[in-house]
Symmetry: C2
Subunit: 461 residues, 2 copies
């Protein structure tokens, strides 16, 4: 038994004494707390602790720190780059029982919640208040603490921003067990360093987020959705660029390529033409949304769109977005038995058409099955590669594809990840993207977590 | 001659050898580089260096570091909390000659500029492109590097956000002379810690910002402005709150109290009734702005507004905002010979009316002359106290007022400064606002600037 194992065993014994049944070490549960949604090796923790409140988190961090045992915050496990893996073992700190809605400040358009609240839970809670939380990364059961930790965004970021823009403050437990709060509830502040934005996107490496204050928004008076097919990805992207430049104010503008449409037709019972297609949504008053729709339609027609179909009823609209949100599972169905790797990049919008076109050519050249879908208003798109793991040549081609995609985005002044995060999967690109700034990130990590106990093996190469 | 003096003298000799005439030590110029717009003692630097480019900044930082001499970045000196003072002497690094517009990426709605570009210069440069940079802290000659460093905002933040939201990346020189860039040009990224937001608002204490990429926006098709007087501050605030909750999308919504209206009437040749008044602006299409104006007017009338006057012509609109922007000087004219202290706080909007009303009562009780004006859509307001420095009792009352105002905002879950920054003037409130999180800020400062050379005596108590 090596030194780390001894320390971890002692830490887990101590945790069990403190926490009783909240601490679990069964293999099945530990496996569920490893990264499961990608092809990265699953690395389960030594134990899982279900925290009930911030005091539990503080106590767990203190015990882990005393025994120098790694601690990995866990929300609902929907991250895509291996964020919740435990490469050095240690404790998975499961936040999913911390689901208290602390306050709904309707006049201030903000809510205070515990980190384990999911976005579906929050929106259910808000339904009668006329408010909603717009950030929508797809997974409805994603916890808001996890979404903050990965700086998540999704389909509505083009209008409402990302978690960066919608987190007002967080409380977090640091490596020394201290609980801090990164700000008050004012909409803006110039008082000191922006620790809120430092914790948003820190992937659990600087502290454990225990609660958050989030901006919420009034449910729009009118929501209109539409489907707009194009003859090519290039024309679809050109329409998006023009609409963005005119500040049309779309709430959602999603591009699905023809492979994605085929998969979604099959999985979600749609019957769309298999051609690059935009799914659109507009939020606002009757008059404002009518004007937006008319303007967008005119732009789309000038770029040769093949149609423009309104999703008139709420039911039709819900079907559309349900289809969009089930893409991950639809794509897995496209090629049963394969491994799925969902990746994302983001580029300045002027380079979007080039980046998408080159990426599609690459998919063809490398003979991959890889539907493409994008939050194209942000210049952000995803490719989900479906890989036959028994075919070593195909696995190698998939690796080549992912590498080329990240480097293509970086070469276009973009980022290797717009919203999934670095985790384990993209550590190799951090230095390419940030150069000497990586050393600054390391110094911050060292200053706040000198023993490197919080989510080790993530972000940094 | 003490040790610091010896070191500074040697550093300045070395700088003079490297930089020749770019280094200046005349008393008048040094005095201009101290904080001059507030009642804080002026603390001039030992020397001023006019940097031409990032290489100059790197060389200056290296020389300062070698001699452990403080270095204070200087934009145009319009900050209000003593940010540019040199309490320990040292070098003022004047960035005002770094005025290169590096790139205008019109399709991507961003620009790359050197840190000494002012917002007026940028907007003049952009005029023919159909784009503009909206952030508007009042001072047209504020440099964009300085605005980033203080996390500035101003009249348009209610629609366009603050510098936090509009800086895409910065390049900065660190204490070891290393030049870093905090990100690429993608609109969003989840790759690593958000160093951009860490440098925005760091007040020159972590590094010297040498260039920035900023978001720019299309000039709106239609701009409508209006003036809307109310019988009381409470009714004006209530109208603002309702409009914000309905997401009306005002581009500006400024509250001026009756004292401010009197000062602005006198200084800017307006003839407004001396009563609390909103200055409004709406940006968008013909149809959208018409709808917004009609909706706002209806809200205002339901709260008993005393009128609603459109500023129909561009000339009338410009006169209105010129009056708004000349408030600082208008107020100085209200009581000639006095010292002016401009302070700001920001609270959740539900507490705005309370905070403003209690503050007005305090001004009356303490017998101060102190016009109040606010970016009320953000819950942010300013008080400019005009103080007879020969009257010790009045000076003491002014101190009491400023202290009570900051603590009132904090007690209402707000911040001691919404946009001016901490500088020297508000260091006493940092711990009240951030508690244990101040220690985290200190650890970051220590990690990036271990010798404490960058803008010492600012932010931290």
């Amino acid at each position: 038994m090596n030194d780390a194992n001894t320390r971890h065993t002692r830490a887990i014994d101590t945790l069990r004494q403190s926490f009783g049944d909240k601490l679990q070490t069964g293999q099945a549960l530990r496996d569920q707390h490893a990264a499961t949604l990608t092809w990265l090796p699953q690395q389960p923790p030594d134990a899982v602790l279900f925290a009930s409140d911030a005091d539990d988190v503080i106590a767990a961090v203190q015990i882990a720190a005393a025994h120098k045992m790694p601690l990995i915050p866990f929300g609902s496990g929907t991250s895509l780059e291996g964020h919740v893996n435990a490469p050095l073992g240690g404790l998975s700190l499961d936040m999913s029982r911390m689901t208290r809605i602390i306050a709904v400040n309707a006049e201030d358009l903000d809510v205070e919640i515990e980190a384990g609240v999911t976005r579906d839970q929050l929106n259910s809670h808000l339904r009668d208040s006329g408010l909603f939380f717009p950030i929508d990364p797809g997974a409805g059961n994603a916890t808001l603490g996890g979404m903050a930790a990965t700086r998540a965004s999704g389909t509505t970021a083009v209008r409402y921003g990302t978690m960066r823009d919608n987190v007002v403050n967080v409380t977090a437990v640091l490596a020394d067990g201290q609980l801090i709060r990164t700000g008050q509830r004012a909409r803006k502040s110039s008082a000191g360093y922006d620790l809120t934005r430092l914790f948003v996107g820190s992937e659990g490496t600087l502290g454990v987020i225990t609660s958050l204050t989030l901006k919420v928004h009034g449910i729009p008076e009118v929501i209109r959705a539409a489907v707009c097919p194009f003859p090519s990805l290039g024309t679809a992207c050109a329409a998006v660029i023009e609409a963005i430049q005119l500040a049309l104010g779309m709430a959602r503008i999603e591009l699905l390529d023809e492979v994605q449409i085929r998969a979604s037709n099959a999985y979600a019972g749609l019957s769309l033409a298999e051609t690059p297609t935009l799914f659109l949504e507009f939020h606002g008053s009757e008059q404002a949304t009518s004007e937006q729709v008319a303007m967008f339609r005119s732009i789309a027609e000038s770029h040769g769109c093949l149609g423009f179909e309104h999703a008139q009823s709420t039911e039709a609209r819900n079907q559309l977005w349900k289809a969009r949100h089930s893409i991950f599972w639809a794509n897995k169905g496209l090629r049963p038995g394969t491994e799925s790797v969902a990746t994302d990049v983001c580029v300045p919008i002027s380079r979007l058409a080039d980046c998408v076109t080159e990426t599609k050519a690459d998919i063809a050249e490398l003979q991959l099955v890889a539907p493409l879908v994008g939050h194209v208003g942000d210049g952000n798109f995803h490719v989900q590669v479906l890989i036959d793991m028994a075919n070593a040549a195909e696995v190698a081609r998939a690796r080549t594809f992912l590498e080329r995609l990240a480097r293509r985005a970086l070469a276009m002044a973009g980022t290797c990840t717009g919203e999934h995060g670095i985790g384990q999967g993209k550590r190799g690109y951090l230095a390419d993207e940030h150069g000497a700034a990586v050393a600054v990130m390391r110094r911050i990590k060292q200053a706040l977590d000198p023993d490197g106990l919080f989510n080790p093996g993530k972000i940094f190469p």
